[in-house]
C-alpha cells in the first residue's frame, strides 16, 4: 500500500459509502444544533431526512456489483445495500415513532436522535465489513450508542439497571469477540476476510488457533444477536429501554450483526464445517425463546423472548449454508425488521402512566382494539406475521429459511422449527385475543387503561405503523422480486469481490 496516495484514494472512494458519510455528518450537525438550540423540535426531522435520503441512495445501489473500498476494509454492492436499507429504514421508523413517545415522557432530547444516527453508522459499517477490524469498529460504535439509549430514562430504576446490565455483559462479550479475532489473526496473519479463507492452515496448531478463535468470535456474535445460550440479557434490556428504541435494538442490530456473520461465514470460513454448531444453537435459541415467551405477561418481555426465537429462525437459514439459505436469511431479516419495529411501535403508543409504571401487562390492555382500532388491526397483522401465517411476510420469511434447510438435509431442524412456530402461536394469539376479544369489563379487577392516560399518537407515528402492516401484506404475496434480489447477492459471480 502506497501511503502517499492513501488520502487521495480515501477521498475518491468516499461517495461509495454515501449513507455512512451522510448519516454520520448529519449526526454531528445535530449535536451542534442541539448545543445552540437545546432540544429543538426540528432535530428529529433533520435526522429522519438524512436517513430517508440515505435509504433512497441505497435503493439505487441494490443492483450494484460487489466490490471493496478503502483498501479492502469495507464492501459495497447489492448485499451491503440491502442490509443498509433495512438498517436505515428501521432507523427512520424508530425516529418517527420516538417523536411522540419521548415527547410524552419529556425526554425528547436532541442527542437521542444524534445517537440513533451514530448507531446507524456503526451498523452500516458492521454490515459492510470486509475486515475484522471494521467489524469490531462497527460493533462497538453501535453498542456504545445503544448502551446510552437504553438508559435514556434516567429516573427509572429499571431503565438504569438494564443499561448497566447491557453495558457490563456487552463489554464482556466484546472481550470474547476481540480475543477470537486476535487468535484468528495469529493463525492466518491477516484481518481481511477473503484472505483468511485463503490462508494456509497446514499445521495442527494453526488450525487449533484458528478454529478456537472462530469459536470465541461466534460467542461474541451470538451475544449480539441474542442467540441462546447467550440471550440472558435480552428480556431485561428490552424491557427497560424506551420502547421505540427497543424495537430498533431488536431489529437493526440483528440485521447488521447477522449480515456481518454471513459475510464471515461466506468469505472467511466458507467450508461449512460450522453447520452443525449453527444448527445446535438454532435449536436451543428457538426452544428457549418460544418456551420462555409462553409464561410472560408483560408484552415487552414477551416480545423480547419472541425476538430471541426469531434469531433462531434466521440461524436455521445460516445453518443450511447454501446460497438459498443465506438469501432466505436476508429476506427474513427484512421481514422481521418490519414486523418487530411495528409491534414495539404499537406498544410504545399504548404506554401510559399507570399504577404499574409506564408498561403494559396483557391484562391492562383488555379490549384495547375497540378504542384504538388502527393500533389493534396493525398489531393483529404483526402478531400473525410473527407466527408465520400466510399471506403475511412472516410466512414467506419462514418458508425461505426452512426450505433451504430441508434441501441441505436438515429436515429434523425444520421439524423443530415448525413445532416451535406452532408453540409460538399460543402466546402471539394471546396478545391478539386480549386486544380484540376480551372486553375491559371482563377484567375490571386489573384496572384497564382509561382513555385519558394514552399519549397522543401523531399521524406520522400511526402512518408508520400502517405502512409497516401494509408492507407485510405486500411482502407476503409479492416476495418473488425481493427474494430474487437477495439470491442474486450470493451467486458465484457476485460472491467474488474484486481484489
Amino acid at each position: 500500500m502506497d501511503l502517499s496516495s492513501a488520502f487521495s484514494t480515501i477521498v475518491a472512494e468516499l461517495p461509495a459509502i454515501f449513507s455512512m458519510t451522510v448519516v454520520g455528518l448529519v449526526g454531528l450537525v445535530l449535536i451542534v444544533v442541539d448545543a445552540y438550540r437545546n432540544d429543538h423540535p426540528a432535530i428529529p426531522w433533520l435526522g429522519a431526512a438524512a436517513l430517508a435520503a440515505a435509504s433512497v441512495w441505497e435503493v439505487t445501489q441494490l443492483g450494484a456489483p460487489a466490490d471493496t473500498v478503502f483498501f479492502e476494509t469495507l464492501r459495497t454492492g447489492g448485499f451491503v445495500a440491502f442490509i443498509n436499507l433495512i438498517v436505515l429504514l428501521t432507523g427512520l421508523a424508530t425516529t418517527l415513532l420516538s417523536i411522540p413517545y419521548l415527547n410524552q415522557l419529556r425526554h425528547d432530547y436532541g442527542e437521542v436522535y444524534a445517537l440513533i444516527l451514530y448507531a446507524t453508522v456503526g451498523m452500516i459499517m458492521l454490515g459492510s465489513s470486509n475486515n475484522m477490524i471494521s467489524i469490531f469498529l462497527g460493533l462497538e460504535t453501535m453498542s456504545v450508542c445503544l448502551y446510552v439509549l437504553t438508559g435514556l430514562i434516567r429516573e427509572d430504576e429499571g431503565a438504569v439497571e438494564s443499561a448497566l446490565k447491557y453495558f457490563l455483559l456487552g463489554a464482556f462479550s466484546t472481550g470474547f469477540f476481540l480475543y477470537g479475532i486476535a487468535l484468528m489473526y495469529g493463525a492466518t496473519g491477516t484481518m481481511v476476510l477473503p484472505e483468511m479463507a485463503a490462508a494456509d492452515l497446514a499445521t495442527t496448531s494453526t488450525q487449533l488457533l484458528f478454529w478456537g478463535g472462530f469459536a470465541l468470535f461466534l460467542v461474541g456474535f451470538f451475544f449480539k444477536v441474542s442467540a441462546a445460550p447467550f440471550h440472558m440479557w435480552t428480556p431485561d434490556v428490552y424491557q427497560g429501554a424506551p420502547t421505540p428504541l427497543t424495537g430498533y435494538m431488536s431489529t437493526a442490530t440483528k440485521a447488521a450483526a447477522f449480515a456481518a456473520l454471513i459475510l464471515v461465514l461466506v468469505h472467511a470460513v466458507p467450508g461449512g464445517e460450522w453447520q452443525l454448531v449453527l444448527a445446535a444453537v438454532a435449536v436451543l435459541t428457538m426452544v428457549m425463546g418460544n418456551v420462555m415467551a409462553l409464561a410472560q405477561t408483560n408484552v415487552k418481555r414477551l416480545l423480547a423472548y419472541s425476538s430471541i426465537a426469531h434469531a433462531g429462525y434466521v440461524l436455521v437459514g445460516l445453518a443450511a449454508g447454501t446460497q438459498a439459505g443465506y438469501a432466505g436469511a436476508l429476506f427474513y431479516l427484512l421481514v422481521y425488521a418490519v414486523m418487530n419495529i411495528g409491534a414495539f411501535g404499537v406498544m410504545a403508543l399504548l404506554e401510559w402512566d399507570g399504577k404499574e409504571g409506564r408498561e403494559q401487562t396483557l391484562s391492562s390492555l383488555a379490549g384495547i382494539a375497540d378504542r384504538r382500532p388502527i393500533l389493534g388491526t396493525t398489531m393483529g397483522v404483526f402478531m400473525f406475521s410473527l407466527i408465520g401465517f400466510p399471506p403475511l411476510g412472516g410466512f414467506a420469511g419462514k418458508y425461505f429459511v426452512f426450505a433451504p434447510a430441508v434441501e441441505a438435509g436438515l429436515t429434523w431442524l425444520v421439524v423443530i422449527g415448525v413445532l416451535m412456530s406452532a408453540l409460538s402461536a399460543y402466546y402471539y394469539l394471546r396478545v391478539v385475543y386480549v386486544f380484540w376479544m376480551q372486553s375491559a369489563a371482563e377484567v375490571e379487577a386489573t384496572n384497564p387503561v382509561t382513555e385519558a392516560a394514552f399519549p397522543p399518537a401523531t399521524r406520522m407515528a400511526m402512518g408508520t405503523l400502517v405502512v409497516c402492516a401494509v408492507a407485510l401484506v405486500v411482502l407476503g404475496i409479492f416476495f418473488g422480486g425481493v427474494l430474487e434480489t437477495t439470491a442474486g447477492f450470493f451467486e458465484a459471480s457476485a460472491m467474488a469481490a474484486a481484489p
Partner: protein, 544 residues
C-alpha cells in the same frame, strides 16, 4: 359465457368486497355490500359450472385455468395456478352458494362490530375457494392457512362464553398439523424437483403427480399430510376442537365451518394424500377405515346424549364425515363418488341444521332442547324445514344424504382394499343411529307439549329467513331425486384419480422390486395392502 380469469375472479371477488367494506361506515351499507359481493360471486361461479366440460379428460390439465408462473424466482417452480376439475367444481359451488346464505343469516344476529364481521367472512370465502381451486401445493397451503385467521376472529369475537378457548384451540390444532405438512411439502418439492423437474423445487400438482415417491419416504410424508388433514376433517382422536369451535361460533361461522371448512380436510386427503402416496395410502386404508367407522359410531353416540342442539349437530358432523373418509379409503369408483357427493350433501344438510338452530337461538337465546318442546304448532314453517333437513341428514331415500351414504357403503362393501364386510356393517349402523339422534332432537324440540309461553309466542320464519333456507331445501330434493348431473361432473375426475393411484402404486412397487438395494434405509412400509390391525406403529393419527 366466456369471462376471462373467471376462476380467479370467483376466488378474489369476496376479498375485494372485504376491502370495500373497510371504507364504509354505515352498518346497512356494509351488510348490503357483503350480500351483493357474495351473490355476484355465486352468479359468476355458475359460469364455472356451465364452463366446465367433464367429457374433456382431466388427465392433462384442469379447466378454466389461470396461471402466473413468474410469482417466485426461477429457482422455485412455484406458480399461481388455479383451475377447476370435477373434484373442485362442486365444492366451489357449495362455497359460493353458502356465501350469501351466511350473510343473510347474520343479518340481525350480528349486532356488534359488523364491519369486521363481514370483512372477515368475505376474506374467509376467498381462502376457502382458493383451497378448492389451487393446483399448486404452495398456493394451496397459503389459502389453507389463510382460512384460519378470519375463523379465529369470527369465533373469538362474535362467539359464545368460552369463545377464546375455542378459538385458540381451533388455531393451535390446525396449525400443528399444517406446519408439519409444510415440512412435508418442502421435502416433497425438493425430492420431486430432483427426480422429475431437472433439479428445480416444484409444487405443481401435475408435476408432483409424475413423481413416484420411493417407499422409504412415502411413509412419513403420508403421515404428515394425513395428520394435517385428519385434524381438519376431523378424524376420531383429533376431533376434540370441533365441538368447542362449533358450539362457541356464531351461526354464520358454524355454517361455514361445517359446510365447507371441514371439507378442506377430506378434499386434501383425496387431492394430495391418495395420489401422491398411493402405496402407503392403500396399506393404511384398513386403519383409516377403522378410524372412520369409530368416528361414525362415536360421533353418533355422543350426539345422542347432548342436551345442546348445536352441540348435537356438531357431533353429527363427526359422524357424517366418517362416511366420507370411509368412502375415500375404499378405493372403488362408487365409494369415491359417494364421498365427493357426500361432502356436498353434508354441507347442505348440516349447514341447514346449523342455520335453523341459529334461528331458534336468535328467538329464545338458548340452545338447550329442554327449553323448547311443542314448537311445531307455533312455528310450522321452521318445523317443516327442520324435518326436511333432519331427514336429509339421516339419509332418507329421496333426499340428498341417501345418495352419498348409499354409494359409499356400496363401494366399501365391494372394496378389496378394506375387504371387511363386518366393518362396513358397523358403519351402516351409523345411518340408523343418525336417525335416532336426529329424530330424537326433533321430537324434544318440536313435538310434545307446548309448555312455555315464550315458545308459544315465537315468530315463524320471516321473508329473509325463508328466502335463505329455500335454496338449501330445494337442492336437498334435487340431489336426492336426480343426482346424475352432479355425479356426471365429478365422475371423470374421480376415475382419473383412481386410475392414477393404481398406476403409480404398481410403478412404485415395481421400482422397489427392481432395485431393492438402492433404498438407503430399510423399508418400513409394507409394499402390499395389509390388514389394518397389523400396522400400528408411528401412525399420524394416534395422538394430537
Amino acid at each position: 359465457m366466456n369471462i376471462p380469469y373467471l376462476t380467479s375472479l370467483v376466488i378474489f371477488l369476496p376479498a375485494f368486497g372485504a376491502l370495500l367494506t373497510l371504507f364504509l361506515r354505515r352498518a346497512t351499507a356494509i351488510r348490503w355490500t357483503a350480500l351483493a359481493t357474495t351473490t355476484a360471486t355465486f352468479v359468476l361461479s355458475i359460469g364455472l359450472f356451465t364452463g366446465y366440460d367433464p367429457t374433456v379428460s382431466t388427465a392433462q390439465a384442469p379447466q378454466l385455468v389461470d396461471i402466473w408462473a413468474e410469482w417466485l424466482p426461477e429457482a422455485f417452480d412455484v406458480k399461481y395456478f388455479v383451475g377447476i376439475d370435477g373434484l373442485s367444481l362442486l365444492l366451489v359451488m357449495l362455497t359460493t352458494l353458502l356465501g350469501p346464505i351466511v350473510v343473510l343469516s347474520s343479518w340481525t344476529y350480528i349486532q356488534e362490530k359488523q364491519k369486521g364481521y363481514y370483512a372477515l367472512l368475505l376474506l374467509l370465502q376467498t381462502g376457502i375457494t382458493g383451497v378448492f381451486t389451487s393446483f399448486d401445493l404452495f398456493l394451496f397451503y397459503i389459502f389453507f392457512e389463510l382460512t384460519l385467521i378470519p375463523m379465529y376472529f369470527i369465533i373469538g369475537i362474535w362467539g359464545g362464553k368460552e369463545r377464546i378457548y375455542a378459538a385458540v384451540k381451533f388455531v393451535i390444532y390446525t396449525l400443528v398439523g399444517s406446519l408439519l405438512m409444510l415440512v412435508g411439502i418442502l421435502y416433497l418439492g425438493y425430492a420431486a424437483g430432483e427426480a422429475v423437474n431437472s433439479g428445480i423445487f416444484t409444487t405443481d400438482w401435475y408435476t408432483l403427480l409424475e413423481y413416484n415417491v420411493p417407499l422409504a419416504t412415502q411413509g412419513w410424508l403420508f403421515a404428515v399430510f394425513a395428520f394435517s388433514f385428519a385434524i381438519k376433517v376431523p378424524l376420531f382422536p383429533v376431533h376434540t376442537w370441533l365441538p368447542d369451535a362449533h358450539v362457541q361460533a356464531p351461526t354464520g361461522g358454524s355454517v361455514i365451518l361445517a359446510g365447507v371448512l371441514l371439507k378442506m380436510g377430506t378434499y386434501g386427503l383425496l387431492r394430495f394424500c391418495l395420489p401422491f402416496f398411493p402405496n402407503v395410502a392403500q396399506s393404511y386404508a384398513g386403519l383409516f377405515a377403522v378410524i372412520a367407522v369409530i368416528g361414525i359410531i362415536y360421533g353418533a353416540l355422543v350426539a345422542r346424549v347432548q342436551d345442546d342442539a348445536k352441540s348435537l349437530v356438531a357431533y353429527s358432523s363427526i359422524s357424517h364425515l366418517g362416511f366420507v373418509v370411509l368412502g375415500l379409503f375404499a378405493f372403488t369408483p362408487e365409494a369415491m363418488q359417494g364421498a365427493v357427493i357426500q361432502m356436498i350433501n353434508h354441507g347442505l344438510s348440516t349447514g341447514a341444521l346449523f342455520l335453523l338452530v341459529g334461528m331458534l337461538y336468535e328467538r329464545r337465546h338458548t340452545r338447550m332442547m329442554d327449553d323448547y318442546g311443542g314448537l311445531a304448532t307455533a312455528v310450522p314453517i321452521l318445523t317443516t324445514f327442520m324435518i326436511i333437513s333432519v331427514l336429509a341428514s339421516a339419509g332418507l331415500p329421496g333426499l340428498n344424504g341417501f345418495v352419498g351414504e348409499f354409494l359409499i357403503l356400496l363401494g366399501a362393501f365391494q372394496s378389496t382394499v378394506i375387504d371387511s364386510p363386518v366393518l362396513i356393517a358397523f358403519a351402516t349402523t351409523g345411518v340408523i343411529l343418525a336417525a335416532v339422534y336426529l329424530l330424537h332432537m326433533v321430537y324434544r324440540t318440536f313435538f310434545g307439549e307446548l309448555t312455555e309461553a315464550a315458545n308459544a309466542q315465537m315468530a315463524d320464519l320471516n321473508a329473509r329467513e325463508f328466502g335463505l333456507m329455500v335454496p338449501l331445501i330445494v337442492l336437498m330434493f334435487v340431489l336426492g331425486f336426480y343426482p346424475t348431473p352432479f355425479l356426471q361432473q365429478t365422475a371423470p375426475t374421480t376415475d382419473f384419480l383412481l386410475e392414477t393411484v393404481e398406476e403409480k402404486r404398481m410403478a412404485i412397487e415395481a421400482q422397489a422390486n427392481d432395485e431393492p438395494t438402492t433404498a438407503e434405509t430399510p423399508r418400513k412400509v409394507p409394499s402390499a395392502p395389509l390388514e389394518a390391525e397389523e400396522v400400528s406403529i408411528d401412525l399420524p393419527d394416534e395422538t394430537p
